[in-house]
């Protein structure tokens, strides 16, 4: 069963074609990693799948529901109610966390539970504390984001996204703003989520992590999926020349 299905999606910014005919599926329980050089369209793809950008044409399905289809060359989106519902099925962890600075760690997690999902305050707190325990941050619930390290902030933002129990969690270069030591504490959490069969799509430059955790890897280049396969196929014995030269920049 697929949680995300995209068919022939295209996205242009002005004259620049950022996504040229991308099709992909994300299956339930799968970890998909997207790699590729800067400007290849990885982040834009993620932003289109999470409705932060609107596509120009193509089709996207979330948990079998149609988010957008194309008729006479124009993308037609579902009703706003349906889009909100689909959005809650998809969580996104940002490169630079985007925590709410004026809320405590606990309130960063409970705010949407209480005001969007209308969960009673008490239950929301219980859920948030449970999530913070999983992130080994139970002692930080009253701290403010500015008092936390980058790695801790990113773990809070993972907890915040998980609180709404999304069907799929997207990560947009979750460790690119972190130094190597903090990177590991965030990757450890993603690894644990993978073990629990959380469906995830991770845009990353951490090739070792992709090889170890991903079930499938997509290599993007200039707005197309240039290569796709298991970590073994893509990272150990890459067939694509561009992929080979891209991987040459990483020490593995």
């Amino acid at each position: 069963m697929n949680v995300i299905k995209a068919l022939n999606i295209k996205k242009q910014f002005g004259d620049v074609e950022v996504l040229k005919d991308i099709s992909l599926e994300v299956n339930k329980g799968e970890v998909l990693s997207i790699i590729g050089p800067s400007g290849s369209g990885k982040s834009t793809l993620l932003r289109c799948l999470t409705q932060l950008e609107r596509i120009d044409s193509g089709e996207i399905y979330v948990c079998g529901e149609q988010m957008v289809h194309t008729k006479n060359n124009a993308a037609i989106y579902a009703t706003s109610d349906a889009l909100v519902k689909m959005r809650l099925e998809t969580g996104l962890v940002f490169q630079n966390f985007n925590l709410f600075p004026h809320f405590s760690v606990l309130r960063n997690i409970t705010e949407a539970l209480i005001h969007v999902l209308k969960v009673p305050v008490k239950d929301a707190k219980v859920k948030a504390i449970e999530l913070l325990k999983r992130m080994s941050l139970e002692d930080k619930q009253d701290a403010y984001p500015c008092e936390l390290s980058g790695g801790q902030q990113q773990r809070v933002s993972i907890a915040r996204a998980l609180a709404l129990s999304p069907q799929v969690l997207f990560f947009d270069e979750p460790t690119s703003a972190l130094d190597p030591e903090l990177t590991n504490e965030v990757l450890k959490i993603i690894r644990e989520l993978a073990n629990e069969k959380m469906t995830m799509v991770v845009v990353t430059h951490e090739m070792n992590f992709a090889r170890e955790v991903a079930d499938r890897i997509i290599f993007m280049e200039e707005g197309i999926i240039a290569s796709e396969g298991t970590p073994e196929e893509l990272l150990v014995s890459p067939q694509n020349d561009r992929l080979r030269s891209f991987l040459g920049h990483f020490k593995m």
Binding site: T50, L52, V84, G91, F94, N98, H102, A112, V116, R160
Partner: protein, 213 residues
């Protein structure tokens, strides 16, 4: 010169000045927010008239605006109305313009990521603005707002141009009556005391919001 009587008169004037100050704040703060949102509208039919309004209000003397708002209805329609109400309208419209631009600066300084994070969590546009954006805006605009509030305390003296009996008018009247500058010195001290309260309030508010960056 009867000092007690003078002080009593000045206190009466202070009450009027204070009332102008408070009513202007009550009306101009929400009005300014509304105007700033209209100023940022993508619809030119909304944003351009607002820009013209901001230009006129910020580009002409408040003194002139007071005279216009009080006398224009009389000359155009033969209507006369309460001078105090005219003063409040003029002050509110004038200060709302300055507040609007301060709000806009604050709102535009909030990173796009805050809106995106809120959207991903399913917050509606109004929830996002009220719960996520506005609290952060308030913290950022406090220093600039403090400026405006201190100016407003002093600007209430302009209400005398349409003969509102506020502090400065009463002080200058008694100064000419008793041939002494003492009433004006007292008035100056009272303005300073009022602004001490304003300064302290903003200092306290900034401290209260100091818990995050």
């Amino acid at each position: 010169m009867d000092i007690t009587k003078l002080l009593f008169q000045l206190l009466e004037g202070t009450k009027t000045s204070l009332l102008i100050f408070i009513l202007t704040a009550i009306f101009a703060l929400p009005l300014g927010l509304l105007i700033s949102l209209m100023r940022m509208s993508k619809l030119k039919i909304i944003s351009i008239p607002v820009r013209i309004y901001l230009l006129i209000v910020r580009g002409t003397p408040l003194l002139l605006q007071l005279l216009f708002i009080y006398f224009a209805p009389y000359y155009l329609l033969g209507l006369s109305y309460d001078r105090f109400i005219a003063a409040i309208i003029a002050f509110a419209l004038n200060y709302a313009a300055y507040f609007a631009e301060i709000y806009r600066g604050g709102i535009e300084s909030i990173p796009k990521g805050q809106y995106e994070a809120a959207a991903m969590l399913g917050f509606t546009k109004s929830q996002t603005f009220i719960r996520i954006i506005l609290p952060q805006v308030i913290k950022r605009i406090l220093p600039a707002m403090g400026n405006e509030f201190m100016t407003l305390v002093k600007d209430t003296a302009l209400a005398q141009t349409i003969a509102v009996a506020e502090l400065f008018r009463i002080a200058s009247n008694s100064a000419s009556r008793v041939f002494s500058t003492l009433p004006l010195v007292f008035a100056g001290i009272i303005y300073l005391i009022l602004n001490c309260v304003v300064e302290w309030s903003f200092y306290y508010a900034e401290k209260r919001l100091d818990y995050y960056k």
